[in-house]
């Protein structure tokens, strides 16, 4: 059988309206149980807080004033002048910056739908001891829940804090299980690691992942990875041409610490503003060094024991 091309997302946060339809569609399609206890967090409109075992899309909300907007524009411009790999219209062809829609100069609202990055070099997959995590024919990273024994190593291995071991999925006081009012529906796949599958089941049927399918603004785009990266580059060039130098791509560089991501993002500020790591590096990149150093240490231990028996009376 022929290998299908690598699939991925391009999440263009500049046109996200924060409707959370992606979160809902994901939960419904994947039968993911409720997370937490429906508390209000006070974090703008974000009451989801983070990705997790039962939350595979998470919409972040950031409210910013004039200073933060200016800082974002400056840091974006600095990226451009670094001469980083760039395709499309060069940013020097930029007209005066103040015409930029759609925000006012005093306030803007950043909204961004986060998801598993489906890394080229995936820490979670590398460190999984059971082989439960595997690379699919679509180049995505998926967990087999019937193989996972819940050791949790992948949780520590992900530099983006995506994958998580599923516990009850709920907190008191609504811990009672059942289908009646005030009860939680039974939580499936307890005790095993869970994360976005890039709708592996839908891809097998030639369907678009639930989140991309439902996104009303096409902020979440799905397709062949190469065309996703290409449209991301086009879009960022377009925004630069409109004076929005704060626009930048995240994960589109195959030379980065995770070999580029299958889910590419267009951001309007530094990654950490959205809760993304600024310079992630797959932990196994240093594994040869670790094994070497451990080998030396082990040899040292054997030598110490030898000395002990030679000298120890």
């Amino acid at each position: 059988m022929e290998q299908p091309p690598r699939k991925g997302f391009f999440t263009d946060t500049s046109i996200c309206i924060g409707c959370k339809a992606c979160e809902v569609a994901c939960k419904e399609w994947n039968h993911n149980p409720r997370d937490g206890d429906l508390e209000l967090t006070g974090m703008s409109y974000d009451n989801t807080v983070s990705l997790g075992a039962s939350t595979w899309r998470h919409v972040a909300f950031v409210e910013q004033g004039r200073d933060a907007i200016a800082a974002a524009r400056t840091s974006g411009r600095a990226l451009v002048s670094l001469g980083m790999p760039s395709v499309g219209a060069p940013a020097s062809a930029v007209p005066a910056p103040d015409v930029a829609p759609p925000d006012t100069p005093e306030f803007r609202w950043l909204m961004a739908s986060d998801v598993c990055k489906h890394c080229t070099h995936a820490g979670c997959l590398d460190v999984c001891p059971t082989g439960a995590l595997f690379r699919t024919e679509f180049g995505t990273v998926v967990i087999q829940p019937d193989v996972c024994n819940g050791c949790g190593t992948c949780v520590a291995g992900c530099p983006f804090g995506v994958v998580e071991r599923r516990s009850d999925g709920t907190a008191a006081p609504t811990y009672r299980e059942g289908h009646r009012k005030g009860e939680q529906p039974p939580v499936p796949k307890r005790g095993v690691a869970q994360k976005c599958t890039l709708c592996y089941d839908r891809l097998l049927d030639d369907e678009t992942p639930a989140c991309a399918k439902t996104c009303p603004t096409t902020s979440i785009k799905f397709g062949d990875h190469t065309s996703m990266v290409a449209s991301a580059r086009e879009r960022v060039a377009e925004l630069h041409a409109q004076g929005m130098t704060e626009a930048r791509l995240y994960g589109a560089n195959e030379l980065d610490g995770v070999g580029g991501t299958g889910s590419v993002f267009l951001l309007l500020d530094e990654p950490e503003v959205y809760g993304l790591p600024p310079d992630p590096r797959v932990c196994t990149a240093d594994l040869p060094t670790m094994y070497k150093r451990a080998g030396v240490a082990m040899a040292g231990m054997v030598a110490a024991a030898a000395v002990a028996f030679w000298k120890g009376r």
Binding site: L79, T130, A156, C158, L249, V273
Partner: protein, 323 residues
């Protein structure tokens, strides 16, 4: 001091997730170290004809492996599927490599312990014609276990370091040295507790070497780490545990050197050393978990290294690009 770094985080929420590991894991780190060190002591005693040390070290290793194995399985989300660890072998997964090391170590050790128990029982185990086979295999099995002893003591350092947990990952060059030293001093301490001083000479030497290695490696490690990633090793309960670990280790070594040939002193020093090792494991574990809770430990070191690479002219490897 570290220059003030300016950054914004997402409502101070963590960026990486803490592994869902309870105190079973540091307990296993400690027990695995005892098992590995005891395996080496048992092999040395076997080769130099120290029967009491050999027997006690083998039994200690077995107890540690047994308890450690239980701790590991108990911490799984699906304990009934623990055997899936051995469903494949993956070099990229220290957890997988370690499961095989543990299995190989336990295999040889079990044979030697069978022989010891049979001897303790006055050759009354119902072994029948298998007794000579057991006796013949005992020596080679002890050596086989010894081959996997140091790996058992050291792989756990790679297991912690090969993660996105900021503090653990930042220790990746030196933690193996800390862990094998800690394993050496703890197993030597246990041997000093269980074995009369006349046969415990090698344990005393190993204890002192272990303490020297432990203190030196810990200092070197802290110096080499990103200063922000190293912070959790000094603060809070982890900091307290690691400070006491060093004190106990040094006190144990002084005890061994000053009065290790007197049994009561040897026992107290041995217990101090075991305590030191346990505190090292729990302290390093806690520090790592703590470093996942505050996004600062992810953001600051990463921004620093990114800026350093950019300053050195490497601009092509950032995850954030202008196009």
């Amino acid at each position: 001091m570290v220059p003030e770094a300016e950054f914004t985080s997402y409502y101070d929420k963590p960026i990486v997730k803490a592994p869902p590991w309870g105190h079973e894991i540091p307990a296993y780190l400690f027990l695995g170290g005892i098992a590995g060190g005891s395996g080496l002591l048992a092999a040395g005693a076997q080769l130099t004809g120290r029967t009491l040390l050999r027997r006690n070290a083998r039994l200690s290793a077995m107890a540690a492996v047994g308890l450690g194995g239980v701790a590991l399985v108990a911490d799984l989300g699906k304990p009934s599927r623990f055997y899936n660890m051995l469903r494949t072998f993956k070099v990229t997964s220290p957890m997988s490599v370690g499961s095989w090391i543990l299995t190989a170590f336990a295999g040889g050790l079990t044979v030697t312990v069978g022989a010891e128990v049979d001897r303790l029982a006055g050759a009354r185990l119902p072994l029948g014609p298998l007794r000579p086979v057991l006796r013949a295999l005992e020596g080679p099995a002890g050596i086989e276990a010894a081959v996997f002893a140091a790996p058992l003591a050291g792989y756990t350092a790679v297991l912690l370091a090969d993660t996105a947990v900021p503090t653990w990952n930042a220790t990746h060059r030196d933690l193996p040295f800390v862990f094998v030293s800690s394993a050496s001093l703890a197993s030597a301490g246990l041997a000093m507790v269980t074995t009369p001083v006349s046969e415990a000479g090698p344990a005393r030497v190993l204890a002192v070497l272990g303490v020297v290695g432990d203190v030196v490696a810990m200092k070197a490690m802290e110096r080499r780490m990103d200063p922000v990633a190293a912070e959790p090793l000094h603060h809070g309960s982890a900091g307290t545990m690691l400070r006491w670990s060093e004190r106990l280790a040094v006190a144990g070594a002084v005890g061994v050197l000053a009065g290790g040939r007197r049994r009561p002193v040897a026992v107290v020093a041995g217990l101090a050393l075991m305590g030191a090792s346990a505190l090292t494991r729990f302290g390093v574990f806690e520090a790592g978990i703590h470093s996942t809770k505050d996004p600062r430990y992810v953001i600051e070191p990463q921004r620093r290294r990114l800026a350093a690479r950019r300053a050195a002219g490497e601009t092509g490897d950032s995850i954030t690009t202008a196009g």
